[in-house]
Symmetry: C2
Subunit: 374 residues, 2 copies
């Protein structure tokens, strides 16, 4: 089917499990999207990304528009062909990374002008240009341009920012109608910092514009897990139940488990890939630093029962050695292990929700990880 | 069979094809051994090393004795288990890298004392200690400690050095008889710089000591391809025809083709792995630098007909992008491609020799690569 749709299969409390259908394949939700910033999930072969259980990956518009450029990717046949990933791809709008990575950036009603952090070249990102880029890349799920203020922020400033994002949402929608192909989807992004009235106003206006899905933006910016969950507690109940809900840039396993319990369907985060490159391995008992001397003689693999070769076929002593000697294979194996851990977590959450056993699953998770998910 | 043996299957001129049998598997010759310096063929998964067609990999005693140490590898079950490579492993003696990498080294009749280039710790490498380390690692093919002088060198100095290597060969043989397990092999190393009388004297003495195989050492140290081939021309005819012949540290494809034509059976070189990490891709038309701007829009893969995913499934434009952005996947894919190219070359050489068509194969190789192999 050449259309985009969401099917809700089961609910358990506020949590949901379902399937997003796209022309490039299905996305089982709750879903974790590995981050493929510059057209590659760092240190991973695409077939191994898929083998971990990923249905979709994320690409970063900011990085791709600078190198190799959206026009070049389009001329080469689109991002899927370019990176040898035939399944769904979601791209962000580029706005968040313009604000965090670029130089001499200037925000106006029109958009954001900035200089590349790579070569100083000047660029302008508007809602229209962001959608044009995402369509040139061929993204299956595209995101509106938004402004993502830091928390804490004054209420007046947060409302001004949220209203700017709403105007950009309207312009993004129009641009999407001009540029996008059949079966592609556009998501709106709820803003409003940590103010309940602003989040609900943002959501009301976004629902009026109408999108294929709704994201919660502006969280995981340092406000802490408890505050993030508090915002979700008053936001997700008002989000449409017949559309996917995406919590942007989240998170650690405990963040994901808590947000799934609050009704979120989609996640992306650099945590498993970045921490894997830095020697951190996620396990059910939490994260361990493989460079720690206690692993030098540990002949056990990270998970002898895993179906993932990276988790099963190499001892912790070997992984320790690879990181101590700065070998490529260390980041390669730990990234693979971490992505498999994340996808196993998502599969377990989907299964628990389908079976109506999410509470018991979360109790186990809290006990094993020592995390609080209030 | 729990023994080490060599079977010569066919000859074509001076070239040979055969099989080395070891308790850990067969090695089809002529064979190229990817270099796995610190217990990993850099940027490669071991299953992909195998998939390229490699029957054996090489480990570096110098690196492994310093990190993680031979005693630790032995306690963890040996190098094969440690690096998840169940097939044959050859280790060098460590001598060459002590002389090229370590600090404050001092050569005596007893051996070489040196300080680690990593942490300054003091070590002594003797023929006995080298074999002890190689046996602790569990190497299937072990190499005598030798001295490897630079070329050019005065005849008297070259003879003194060669005779030192002969005394070390005798001590290595005794140590091997004390340390090694059934089915493991020890190779002697022919030295004598570029002097015919010294090479032949070295070989005569090594044959008297008797080894499972014979290596040609001290070449590929800057003397040039023509001079290397000249040394092989007078050395290989005197090497035992019923034992494997190994040309150490060689080489580029044209070096290998020329040496195979002169009767060499085994090779190792960092060229395919190191150049892959630096953006160089080997093809039948020679090496190309994928970072070159002309590849930015080249939508063709390196080899669309290859069975190697790295050669077939990614465009040169994508590989170019990966190297321009410093992504891990660039070195991963080009190393894989290069190792597959090298193993395909070895397979083609074996096939040509078996069919008695090596001359025609070499003519094609010279025409396509533009290399001279006089």
């Amino acid at each position: 089917m050449n259309t985009f749709s969401y099917t809700l299969n089961a609910i358990d409390g506020a949590a949901r499990t379902g399937v997003i259908s796209t022309p490039r394949g299905e996305i089982r939700t709750p879903a974790f999207m590995p981050v493929g910033t510059a057209g590659t999930v760092k240190a991973m072969l695409p077939e191994h990304v898929r083998a971990t259980g990923a249905d979709i990956v994320l690409g970063n518009t900011y990085h791709l528009m600078l190198r190799p450029t959206a026009e070049r990717v389009a001329a080469l046949g689109g991002l899927h062909k370019f990176m040898n990933w035939p399944r769904p791809i979601l791209t962000d709008s580029g706005g968040f990374q313009v604000m965090s990575l670029s130089k001499l950036r200037k925000l106006t009603q029109e958009g954001v002008s900035f200089q590349s952090h790579i070569d100083g070249s000047k660029h302008m990102l508007t809602p229209e240009r962001s959608i044009e880029i995402q369509s040139l890349l061929g993204a299956d799920i595209q995101m509106q341009l938004d402004e993502c203020p830091a928390i804490p922020i004054a209420h007046d400033d947060a409302r001004d920012s949220m209203l700017l994002s709403i105007r950009w949402a309207e312009r993004s929608k129009k641009a999407f109608q001009n540029h996008a192909s059949e079966g592609q989807a556009l998501f709106g992004i709820v803003q409003g910092a940590n103010f309940e009235d602003l989040r609900l106003e943002s959501l009301t206006r976004l629902k009026e514009i109408d999108f294929h899905g709704f994201a919660v933006g502006g969280l995981a910016v340092g406000e802490g897990r408890e505050e993030m969950f508090r915002v979700l507690d008053f936001t997700t109940p008002e989000m449409p139940s017949d559309k996917p809900r995406y919590l942007m840039g989240v998170g650690k396993p405990a963040d994901i488990v808590g947000a799934v319990a609050r009704g979120i369907d989609m996640f992306d985060c650099v945590a498993p890939t970045r921490s894997g490159r830095h020697g951190q391995a996620w396990t059910r008992e939490g994260a361990v630093n493989i460079k720690n001397a206690r692993f030098a003689d540990d002949n056990a693999p990270l998970d002898p029962t895993s179906v993932c070769p990276a988790s099963r076929d190499y001892s912790k002593a070997y992984l320790h050695h690879l990181f101590r000697t700065g070998e490529y294979l260390g980041p390669m194996l730990l990234t693979w292990h971490n992505l498999h851990y994340y996808q196993s977590l998502m599969a377990a959450l989907r299964e628990a929700i389908a079976a109506g056993k999410l509470v018991a699953y979360i109790d186990d998770f809290k006990r094993e990880s020592g995390e609080t998910l209030v």
